[in-house]
């Protein structure tokens, strides 16, 4: 803990990450504070003959519209960006939690189960790790009916395709832990496997799984942004940073603010989470110090 407190990168990352989480949670309040919402059109702020670029400088920044308005619709960019944080973070957090749960379950089952269970589950994990995630996610998301709740679906798809890493780490940690004396003692005392898993193994898994999960979070965010960028992510009018960047591709020169605002925020948020993950790993799991981030 002391190491963390002295780690400037971690502190910066944690501060920014915390801020982003707060922004995401308080998105409706923030938008309301700005006197805006993310759906109202402001056609009077657009130059329709020029394709709907915002009137005024810097994407139409004004006292009312703190970050200007979205080209083509005139919706308030600040409101959309803060709600976009909600989507991006929400999907990433949801996917991470699912991945960790799935990974923990399969990993401990493989580590504590018999030879056959271990062999089968390890093969399964290998298979999942070999899946081309983006390719499959695109296929999956395109096939699912469009009226299913999109953010949930996104989190589920990302999780189902990406739990292999957690499972692998959990398994190897479990294999080490099960040879420890206290586990052997519990077994002699007649504890069942599920009890051992919960009482003896899980606490030991906290540090490695936590550090790994901290890395998964930004990775998942990138995947969500990428899928939304490709048009298979969340559906409008729900904003997401990736989807905003995707529509920004046609507004390069006409309205650079529309690229820079969501792009900058995405970068800053990802960077902060990577810094947090980095700091956590150094503090909690010195053995993994220079392991390649997956």
């Amino acid at each position: 803990m002391r190491a963390l407190r002295r780690d400037r990168g971690f502190l910066f990352g944690a501060a920014v990450a915390l801020l982003m989480v707060l922004v995401a949670v308080a998105a409706p309040l923030l938008a309301a504070a700005a006197g805006q919402d993310y759906t109202t059109y402001h056609d009077n702020l657009l130059d329709s003959a020029r394709g709907g670029v915002p009137l005024g400088r810097l994407g139409g920044i004004s006292g009312e519209h703190w970050l200007g308005v979205e080209p083509g619709t005139g919706r308030d960019l600040f409101a959309r960006v803060v709600h976009g944080a909600q989507t991006s973070l929400g999907v990433a957090v949801g996917a991470t939690i699912l991945q960790v749960l799935l990974g923990l379950f399969v990993g401990t089952a493989a580590g504590l189960g018999g030879r056959w269970a271990d062999a089968i589950l390890t093969r399964l994990v290998d298979l999942v790790l070999a899946l081309p995630i983006l390719v499959l996610a695109i296929s999956l998301l395109a096939i699912v009916p469009s009226n299913w709740p999109r953010p949930l679906l996104l989190a589920a798809v990302i999780a189902v395709l990406g739990w292999g890493g957690t499972a692998r780490i959990t398994r190897s940690e479990t294999l080490t832990l099960r040879t420890r004396d206290y586990v052997a003692a519990a077994r002699l005392a007649g504890a069942g496997w599920s009890r051992i898993a919960r009482r003896e193994i899980l606490p030991g898994l906290t540090a490695p799984v936590l550090t790994y999960a901290a890395l998964l979070l930004p990775t998942n965010m990138v995947v969500e942004a990428g899928l939304s960028f490709l048009g298979v992510g969340v559906r409008p009018p729900t904003p997401s940073w990736g989807q905003m960047l995707s529509s920004a591709t046609t507004w390069f020169r006409a309205d650079p603010m529309y690229v820079l605002v969501p792009g900058g925020l995405l970068f800053l948020t990802l960077l902060s989470f990577v810094l947090v993950a980095n700091g956590l790993r150094r503090a909690l799991d010195p053995r993994q110090r220079e392991v390649l981030l997956q």
């Binding site: 070999a130 390719v135 699912v144 942004a225 020169r253 970068f267 990577v274 220079e290």
Partner: protein, 329 residues
């Protein structure tokens, strides 16, 4: 060794089998009908039924899957008007959308994806190893810091963000480069490289971070090994120690990684290809998904699977070859 190879290939076949089964299953669950797209506007129900039959999508899905497997192993014949078309094994079928053999489509797109992957890999290896060595030696504190920062930033930028900014900067603002459009190497090598430069850089930014980190770790680890200390104690020149010993030890794991990375760029650079409009395998997939073009979707996924499994196998062999402590099992 032979046994290992067999197990590996057996495993790969199973993975591919599972993947194709999964896709056919999903297709069965999906409410979409590819015949509607093919039949076009104003298609009457009777006409639709005829088209469905001509496309072979009126069979039950298990039968369609069986046909697919047969085609893969033994080839297939397709009705094509006055005569039949023979699709030789390994037959992945014909695209619903364009009626071209899927194998032709894949072979046509692969050079684009390969160009993208190769260039990005070379670029990121050069930059990554360079930065990794320099910071690994800890000669310059500030350099170490910069590399550290870049490595972290590299993880934090999605490839399409880098791509967007590169396009914005070099094609729109400065206009130093044309908007990328693929030119085959055989047509004009210079234009090939010029058009691929931005996509290479975009991909390399992310890849470089990983390589730099790995190289630095390797260098630091080997420098602390006994044999380096021994070499130092014998008074070998420092430069020689670094280049002959430390670097070799540090680079070995990297070499084995490149095969896997090449395969993964080749097959998963969907975003980069879309961003820069490169007609590669990824773009083929995105288009096929939008058109419910099942044979192409399955074909691309199969190719992806084959490449990834092959790359992993090669990586294992390379690893065993360069590091005698590793045994193939």
């Amino acid at each position: 060794m032979i046994g290992y190879l067999f197990r590996r290939i057996g495993g790969a076949v199973l993975v591919l089998f599972g993947l194709s089964l999964l896709l056919y299953g999903l297709f069965y669950l999906a409410p979409s009908d590819p015949a509607i797209l093919t039949c076009g506007k104003g298609c009457t129900p009777e006409r639709l039924a005829e088209v469905r039959h001509a496309m072979g999508v009126d069979d039950p899905i298990p039968a369609q899957y069986a046909h697919f497997l047969t085609g893969l192993v033994a080839g297939r014949d397709y009705p094509a008007g006055p005569a039949t078309r023979h699709c030789p094994a390994p037959c992945l079928g014909y695209s619903f959308e364009t009626d071209q053999p899927v194998t032709t489509l894949l072979l046509d797109r692969l050079p684009v994806s390969a160009s993208l992957a190769l260039g990005a890999e070379v670029l990121s290896l050069a930059a990554g190893i360079g930065a990794g060595v320099l910071s690994g030696l800890r000669r310059y504190r500030w350099l170490d810091r910069i590399v550290n920062g870049l490595v972290l930033a590299g993880y934090a930028v999605p490839v399409f963000l880098v791509g967007l900014l590169l396009l914005l900067l070099f094609c729109v603002q400065l206009q130093w480069l044309p908007f990328p459009s693929y030119v085959p190497f055989t047509t004009d090598p210079l234009a090939w490289a010029q058009n691929l430069l931005l996509p290479w850089v975009a991909l390399a930014v992310i890849q470089t971070a990983a390589y730099a980190r790995l190289t630095r770790a390797g260098i630091q680890e080997t420098l602390s090994e006994d044999y380096i200390r021994t070499a130092r104690a014998y008074g070998l020149p420092e430069r020689r120690i670094i280049w002959r010993r430390a670097l070799r030890g540090a680079l070995l794991p990297l070499v084995t990684l490149t095969a896997i990375d090449l395969a993964s760029i080749m097959t998963s650079a969907v975003l980069t290809e879309t961003m820069f409009g490169l007609p590669g395998v990824g773009q083929l997939l995105v288009g096929a998904v939008n058109q419910i073009d099942l044979p192409v979707v399955v074909g691309v996924t199969m190719l992806t699977g084959v490449l990834i499994v092959a790359a992993n196998t090669i990586a294992d062999f390379l690893y065993a070859a360069v590091d005698p402590r590793v045994e193939l099992r």
